[in-house]
């Protein structure tokens, strides 16, 4: 009988940085080539480990931004936290050709694949867009027509990660709708939302509960809790609302 292979215990491996790209002032994408890579699913993350000369080690998790269709390499997008132990190194010091210790891909819960269908609702706060971007890139790469809405909260226009790509996808894909909200500063003439995500906003943007959407929320913990509670208030089953939180990195 054929059996699907278990993922197996994770172990660390060394990846080589093959490209970097500044996304916003605070975020950078790092593309890595790995010696053994069995592929990933959109929404998964990697653990990164840095070791200091005295042996001190720090580990952090970063979401994969690239879609599974981009084989043999993966891209992480990292937000710099000024008091962070790992992200300042990744965003400021790391160069093409450097090696980085990683393990993954990790997670089978917060993943979306085109055959899971929709409609799809993605709710992002700040750098919480990263795993959702992998889902959107996967969706585009396989030509999926699953009706999809992205609600993306950022502090300001300049903080929107992947802005050009999102606008291009939004403009060319009839089944995709990208909605921004800018919580702190808006450019002149901004007609979009300009407040934090709340129940009223989700009532306007989210698919109604009787369409049984697939829902994914990623962002800072308070953001995720607010958005998840609002969706439940709007009648969605808690079990359909998948969340991924990250630590207190400031508001989205």
């Amino acid at each position: 009988m054929e059996r699907t292979a278990l993922p197996g215990r994770l172990s660390w491996q060394l990846g080589e940085v093959v490209a970097t790209q500044q996304e916003t002032v605070r975020t950078k994408s790092i593309t890595l080539a790995l010696p053994t890579w069995r592929g990933h699913q959109a929404g998964q993350h990697m653990d990164v480990r840095l070791t200091a000369q005295d042996g001190y080690q720090a580990e952090r998790s970063y979401s994969i931004a690239s879609p599974p269709e981009e084989e043999h390499r993966l891209t992480l997008t990292v937000e710099r936290l000024d008091d962070g132990e790992v992200s300042p190194y990744l965003t400021e010091e790391l160069r093409v050709g450097d090696q980085l210790e990683l393990r993954g891909p990790i997670g089978g819960y917060f993943v979306w694949e085109a055959q899971m269908g929709g409609p799809l609702l993605l709710v992002a706060g700040g750098s919480g867009i990263v795993p959702l971007m992998a889902m959107l890139r996967h969706r585009a790469a396989v030509g999926s027509t699953v009706p999809t809405r992205l609600l993306y909260s950022s502090r300001s226009d300049a903080d929107i990660i992947y802005r050009d790509e999102l606008d291009r996808l939004d403009g060319t894909d009839q089944m995709l709708e990208v909605v921004y909200t800018l919580t702190r500063a808006q450019p002149p003439g901004w007609t979009g939302y300009h407040r934090r995500i709340d129940t009223d906003m989700l009532r306007e943007v989210a698919w109604p509960s009787d369409q049984y959407p697939q829902m994914y929320i990623c962002g800072p913990t308070p953001f995720v809790e607010t958005a998840a509670a609002s969706l439940v208030t709007l009648g969605h089953e808690p079990g359909r609302v998948k969340t991924e939180r990250f630590g207190p990195t400031g508001e989205a």
Partner: protein
């Protein structure tokens, strides 16, 4: 410093110990009796290790410490752990 994350962040450590896709593993809480996937739990990362808590009642389901090459797992908050043997 306590850092509130979620079960997804705990998954890397758990999957370094268990050969299964750990975010999909279902844990039944001894505190409130509800069953939730590890991916939906709340995880708190400390310098010493991490605590995975029930998303419903906050009971500590799993504590993991990694000290001198040895993992210590305190799982008294878990009544039943359901693991799919298929990927």
């Amino acid at each position: 410093m306590e850092n509130t994350l979620d079960g997804n962040a705990a998954a890397g450590t758990l999957q370094a110990i268990f050969p299964f896709e750990m975010t999909l593993v279902q844990a039944t809480c001894t505190g409130c009796g509800t069953t939730n996937p590890i991916g939906a739990t709340a995880a708190y990362m400390h310098g010493m290790g991490m605590v995975v808590r029930c998303p419903v009642c906050d009971t500590a389901l799993i504590r993991v410490a990694h000290v001198k090459g040895r993992y210590f797992l305190d799982m008294r908050g878990v009544r039943v752990l359901q693991i799919s043997a298929e990927a």
